[in-house]
């Protein structure tokens, strides 16, 4: 897997070319967002695409803060996202340890049950869930969204799969040394699973940050609303202010990118020693 070899130069070149092309393809939507965010609505969907707006409309970026309470929405979303991500990481990695490394009655059935529920589309149980939440008086509270998002089966599943690849011998050795299961989880598994935890953090963060239908249904009071609902406020029935939508989208994207950039360095942990460099 070495690309620095002399005879693999053409391969490296080909690789880079492919990478650059796919990178361009992946960057397009972002570039389009940026360019649309500086346009009037009427120019957003014109053909051919005008990548650099003739008269950049920077006001879009100041207007979004006054037209809707964007700051409140960002605060709400940040609060929800941080709590959900934290709870998700904690409870999922905890449960996943049992599913991956402990033997107990009903393990496989319970696990399959977890995974199977991921398959149920939310649209199918949205109404019963809403009626239940409301009977708990959780309607119009942030707790509703937290409970909805924080205990997902997805996190358990993801973490279990990573723990599976940790050799059982490691845990056995620790048990012989007299370490409790909680100790093994905290001192061996958690440090080993930093890449997986980073992954889960990114996914949970993005999902909660971008969640739309849940907040729309549960949070109807303006002071509770989240940024995705805010974005939709620019999509009116008879006209859609795409310039503003995209300006707000760009603003909304920044935290996600920051989280991604700051966590992605954990993906190189194992490689630091030797990894695939061979």
């Amino acid at each position: 897997m070495q690309v620095q070899n002399k005879n693999s130069k053409p391969i490296a070149l080909l690789l880079y070319t492919l990478l650059v092309i796919s990178a361009l393809a992946m960057l397009l939507p972002f570039v389009w967002m940026l360019s649309a965010s500086l346009k009037l609505d009427k120019d957003v969907f014109t053909f051919p695409i005008q990548w650099i707006p003739a008269n950049p409309r920077w006001e879009n970026y100041s207007e979004i803060w006054t037209m809707i309470p964007l700051l409140t929405f960002i605060k709400n979303t940040a609060k929800l996202t941080i709590i959900v991500t934290f709870l998700q990481l904690l409870t999922s990695s905890f449960a996943a340890y049992a599913f991956a490394k402990l033997h107990f009655k009903g393990r496989d059935v319970l696990f399959l049950g977890y995974v199977a529920t991921i398959a149920m589309p939310w649209q199918a149980y949205m109404v019963p869930q809403f009626l239940m939440m409301r009977s708990f008086h959780l309607n119009n509270t942030h707790l509703a969204i937290i409970f909805l998002q924080a205990f997902s089966a997805f996190g358990v599943f993801l973490m279990r799969q990573f723990y599976m690849s940790v050799p059982d011998e490691l845990c056995e050795a620790a048990r012989i040394d007299g370490m409790s299961e909680y100790g093994i989880y905290a001192k061996i598994m958690l440090p080993l699973s930093v890449p997986a935890l980073s992954t889960l953090t990114i996914f949970t963060f993005v999902n909660t940050w971008n969640d739309f239908l849940g907040p729309l249904l549960y949070l109807t009071r303006t002071e509770l609303k989240t940024i995705q609902i805010g974005l939709r406020m620019f999509i009116g029935q008879y006209s859609s202010e795409y310039g503003l939508i995209m300006a707000a989208s760009v603003v909304a994207l920044i935290p996600v990118v920051i989280v991604f950039l700051s966590l992605q360095r954990f993906f190189v942990q194992g490689v630091a020693t030797a990894g695939l460099k061979g």
């Binding site: 009037l40 969907f45 053909f47 709590i83 809403f130 009626l131 008879y238």
Partner: protein, 427 residues
């Protein structure tokens, strides 16, 4: 490990902080004041909510109206979910479309207003027959407060430039088609399309119901053929923009009209207020525009057009039904109509005074034809009240999409509509 611990610590502190202020509840309502919750959409971009509420609260100091914005895109879904299971937090309900109204009635979520209408002496004759069209077995569950209808918008500058006479308030479909063809010119960036059909089914298919001989829930759709032939012909000859392109590029009709690229466009009256505002703000290239009545089939009175009504109803689970009805009565009544009209929106009570208000709004075209275009002879609802209207609409939308993208021939498409809708009707 230390780092992780610090992060955990910081996070839990943050959590404590936000939880602490998150549990704070809104201040309890003042004593003696009844608060009514009104479910609606797009508070930020709708101009008539505030003046309506201000006027009502001024006259009724003991009532406070709270708005509940459920967004426009999923409004009926959100509303119906909120109302499910008998929740009493919503009092006044805005009803966006007829299939949704039908569902609300079927699901027993709306109050039958007949008794109140009788006891409070609401004059239904003011509503130009629209209340009859939404009565279910003689019972009325909502009173219209907005009544939009379809018109033809045209770009005066483009007509002047081409030296072609403006469209008139009395156009047959054949004349309209000929005019669209005459107005088409240019290539590339200079291309001017004679007409424009937005990608909604109602913009094309519903030409067919204007002769009053058929409805869209009949189960047989052969009468649509000439209209599909006209529109697909225009599409083939480059008179109108291609449906597939419009749809896949999510082109909004307003942009097309603003950019001086279409000469005529059929659209609902809700576009009047938006157009006036955008032109005034200088956001458009179009400067001079006009309105004329919808084209009509041979032998049909000019001014026959399509309509959509937005109504207000009272939630069956509301604990303040009397107060809620009083508010509904105000908004839908003559006073409310005045306020709505002042924002350039067409209220359901469309008397001479209301038309005068809209036509004299600064920015409204000054020619008399545009003013006359607001006079409607007969309105057919885009979707009539029918028990199966929601399911029928799903099928009609799908087949319309197939026909307009040339994925199915007109005849085969009509046969498919006939077959599938009849199946729904037979269930």
């Amino acid at each position: 490990m230390k780092k992780v611990l610090t992060i955990v610590l910081v996070l839990s502190l943050l959590m404590g902080a936000v939880f602490a202020n998150g549990t704070k509840e809104a201040a309890p309502a003042q004593a003696g004041v009844t608060t009514l919750k009104w479910a609606l959409w797009d508070i930020a971009s709708t101009t008539y909510y505030e003046p309506l509420i201000t006027a009502y609260e001024a006259a009724h100091p003991d009532i406070k109206i709270e708005m509940l914005d459920l967004g426009s895109a999923d409004f009926m879904t959100m509303l119906q979910t909120q109302l499910s299971g008998g929740d009493s937090s919503i009092d006044v309900v805005t009803i966006k479309d007829i299939p949704g109204y039908n569902n609300l009635v079927k699901r027993n979520l709306l109050l039958n207003l007949n008794d109140k209408i009788a006891s409070e002496g609401v004059d239904l004759s003011l509503y130009g027959g629209t209340t009859d069209q939404i009565s279910v077995d003689g019972k009325l569950y909502g009173i219209p407060f907005r009544s939009d209808f379809w018109l033809v918008y045209y770009n005066k500058d483009l007509f002047d430039k081409a030296g072609v006479a403006y469209p008139t308030n009395d156009m047959t479909f054949a004349q309209y088609d000929a005019l669209a063809r005459k107005m088409t010119s240019g290539m590339g960036a200079d291309k001017v399309y004679g007409a424009h059909y937005h990608t909604w089914r109602s913009a094309v298919q519903l030409f067919g119901i204007l002769d009053g001989k058929h409805t869209i829930v009949d189960g047989t759709y052969d009468f649509l053929k000439p209209y599909y032939e006209m529109v697909l012909g225009e599409q083939k000859d480059g008179i109108v923009q291609d449906y597939a392109t419009l749809k896949t590029s999510s082109t909004h009709y307003s942009g097309v009209f603003y950019n001086n690229s279409v000469a005529m466009m059929n659209m609902g009256s809700w576009f009047i207020a938006t157009l006036i505002n955008q032109v005034a703000q200088g956001n458009t290239e179009v400067k001079n525009w006009g309105l004329v009545k919808y084209p009509h089939a041979e032998g049909v009175t000019p001014g026959t057009t399509l309509g959509t009504i937005t109504s207000l109803g009272v939630s069956n689970a509301s604990k303040k039904k009397d107060a809620a009805f009083d508010f509904v009565k105000f908004v839908t009544g003559p006073e409310g109509a005045q306020i709505v009209a002042k924002t350039g929106t067409i209220p359901a009570i469309k008397n001479e005074g209301v038309i005068q208000i809209i036509a004299s709004k600064p920015g409204f075209p000054t020619d008399s034809a545009s003013r006359d275009a607001l006079q409607v002879a007969k309105t057919y609802l885009e979707m009539p009240l029918h028990e199966k209207s929601a399911e029928i609409e799903v099928v009609l939308n799908q087949v319309h999409d197939e026909i307009m993208t040339n994925n199915i021939s007109i005849d085969a498409g009509i046969a498919k509509m006939n077959e599938q809708v009849q199946k729904i009707l037979a269930k």
